[in-house]
């Protein structure tokens, strides 16, 4: 039998049983659409997180107090001894490392800021002028934090755009005074960066000199030190140098954690890749269920068409031809169903892209995988009914006694 005839014959019998065929198409389509949508979601989330991390700044190195590994447990917690805190002097010492282009200390806390009767809770951050360089921020109005010694306080602040609008709706915030607790600060600039950062919105930030923030919260410690390596090639070397420098300052104890941006990125990348795989695997289950349905319906088709199968045998069809007739039907259904599913899945992810903040795009491997699994399902679950058809006794089949 020629391939074209086989295809035409299978198509004709599928068209003849419209209800049956469309149920199987639907089941297959839902399976493939599920694979496309769920993996698109996972992939979208991965891309979102990756781009968020990239917006942290370039060649960024983050120093945290305490010896922790990403995903590990702080041994200091287990052993009961408190890790040494990071200090401003620690931060300043990093500037002496040749491959460090810039460093910025960070103190972070919640604060209630007010102007007149307007008041809101926000994130207060203490840092230095160098933070703007490290994070590639700028000011759209006024100026950055003053270039004063890191241990000097000043009653000035730079605020995010949203804070400026909310506290000073009438006019420019620059030059105005705002109140943080009992202290008054003069607004000297508005941060221009549109970027969001992990965990907080730059637009809702109040930035003061680091020593001032330490005074507000009455502490001498730092939350983080951000450092910037001179070039991507310097990142690893700089990381080692930072650890050595701080170890030297802390009586030879390695009690800081240094995270590089690319390590963070690759960690999150692999987490989200695994997540996408898991979502894909879950969706594959629906494909298998569709496969079982295909098998069921094909079995029904075989018993409905016993007379036809008997006739084919009488007309000289070999057992293998009967098998391939039914397998072709099953695979055709699977292929068509998966294409429909692909279309549905792509349509829904397109809609999702218009609504969600991140780019949900099904990765190519998932699309290929979905279609291939659908076809394999059609083959595997089509074999049993097709074999049964090929084994029918032609005499009984023609006599209608099966």
């Amino acid at each position: 039998m020629r391939a074209a005839d086989l295809l035409a014959f299978a198509t004709q019998s599928l068209l003849r049983a419209r209800m049956r065929s469309s149920m199987m198409l639907l089941a297959m389509a839902i399976g493939v659409a599920a694979v496309v949508m769920l993996t698109a979601l996972g992939e979208g989330a991965r891309r979102y997180v990756t781009s968020e991390f990239s917006s942290l700044g370039t060649n960024l190195i983050i120093v945290l107090p305490g010896r922790t590994e990403t995903g590990g447990i702080n041994p200091g917690v287990l052993g009961g001894d408190t890790p040494r805190d990071l200090t401003l002097a620690d931060a300043e010492s990093l500037l002496r490392i040749p491959t460090v282009a810039q460093a910025a200390p960070l103190v972070v806390g919640q604060a209630t800021v007010s102007s007149g009767r307007r008041e809101r809770d926000t994130l207060l951050m203490g840092s230095t002028r160098t933070l703007f360089e490290v994070r590639s921020w700028g000011v759209k109005q006024g100026e950055m934090l003053p270039a004063i010694g890191w241990d000097q306080t000043a009653s000035v602040c730079v605020v995010g755009g949203k804070i400026a609008r909310e506290l000073f709706p009438e006019g420019s915030a620059v030059g105005q005074w705002l109140r943080v607790g009992e202290r008054r600060f003069r607004v000297i600039g508005i941060i221009s960066s549109e970027g969001r950062s992990i965990g907080f919105d730059v637009q809702e930030l109040v930035l003061v000199p680091v020593a001032t923030a330490q005074a507000i919260y009455n502490r001498t410690t730092l939350f983080r030190i951000l450092a910037q390596a001179r070039s991507p090639e310097d990142i690893q070397r700089t990381r080692t140098a930072i650890i050595e420098t701080l170890k030297g300052r802390h009586q030879g104890v390695e009690d800081v954690t240094v995270i590089t941006q690319d390590a963070l990125l690759s960690t999150f990348n692999s987490i989200f890749t695994v997540l996408t795989l898991a979502l894909g695997a879950i969706a594959t289950i629906s494909l298998l269920v569709a496969g079982v349905l295909v098998m069921n319906v094909m079995l029904v088709a075989v018993s409905q068409r016993t007379a036809e199968i008997g006739l084919m045998k009488a007309l000289g069809a070999r057992p293998r031809q009967i098998t391939s007739l039914f397998l072709t039907e099953a695979v055709l259904l699977a292929l068509l169903g998966s294409l429909i599913g692909l279309a549905i899945g792509e349509l829904i992810t397109w809609v999702a892209r218009q609504v969600l903040p991140f780019q949900a795009v099904a990765p190519t491997w998932a699309v290929v995988f979905g279609i291939v699994v659908a076809i394999i399902c059609g083959l595997v679950f089509g074999i049993l009914p097709a074999r049964r058809a090929a084994r029918l006794d032609p005499v009984l089949a023609l006599a209608g006694r099966l």
Partner: protein, 224 residues
């Protein structure tokens, strides 16, 4: 052309063994017109199924056109069916979703012939059985007699040497039954070996050779 030696076919029905065919010897020459007669259960349909290689005898040998078919595998038997045997059934067995033309083409489709070749041959055959204007009709748009004539055209498309008809007029009225028999007899006159299974003595009387069966045995073998 056909040599049956000690052919037997047993069925196990529950505890009982049914002897559908019991040690049948039979020779049929090329071009013969044979009517196999007998009451139901006499084994005449089983004989036809074995002649058409649809059924395997429990014992004995069957030589068709010089080949012993008893030991052929399923594929080889299918090839013999395709090339040498044509079947006519009481209930026609046309494929409902295919047109008359496509039904006639079906054996050639299964044999992998080109569509131009089979189309031409199917048209020629349908014209020969008087259905030139019904080629694109589906079976449910045809009368019983027309359906059986489509079935005859289908049986003839592979130019078989042997035509096996199982109660070909059983579902037809007298007039269209006679039509169908005349078509079959014309083919026989052109050299085709024709074996008709029937329980109708009037139809049996038309054949040149009449084989009567009872309880799986040949009771009578009469030539006219």
């Amino acid at each position: 052309m056909i040599e049956l030696r000690h052919i037997s076919r047993f069925f196990q029905v529950g505890e009982q063994t049914v002897h559908a065919l019991d040690d049948v010897d039979l020779s049929i020459d090329t071009g013969e017109y044979v009517a196999v007669m007998g009451p139901s259960g006499s084994g005449k349909s089983t004989l036809l199924n074995i002649l058409g290689l649809l059924d395997k005898p429990t014992g004995g040998s069957y030589v068709l056109d010089g080949t012993d078919t008893t030991h052929l595998d399923a594929d080889a038997q299918a090839r013999v069916r395709a090339e040498k045997v044509g079947f006519i059934f009481q209930i026609f067995h046309l494929v409902a979703r295919l047109t008359a033309l496509e039904n006639v083409e079906l054996p050639m489709v299964l044999a992998g012939r080109s569509s131009a070749e089979r189309r031409a041959r199917a048209r020629e055959l349908l014209t020969g059985v008087g259905l030139a204007d019904r080629m694109d009709h589906r079976p449910d748009q045809l009368s019983g007699g027309q359906r059986q004539r489509v079935a005859i055209a289908r049986a003839m498309i592979m130019k078989p040497a042997l035509l096996l008809a199982d109660e070909p007029t059983g579902n037809l009225d007298t007039a269209s039954g006679t039509d169908v028999l005349e078509v079959l007899e014309r083919l026989n006159a052109e050299g085709l070996t024709l074996i008709v299974v029937t329980h109708d003595p009037q139809i049996g009387a038309r054949a040149r050779r009449r084989i009567s069966m009872r309880d799986g045995k040949v009771l009578e073998d009469v030539r006219r």
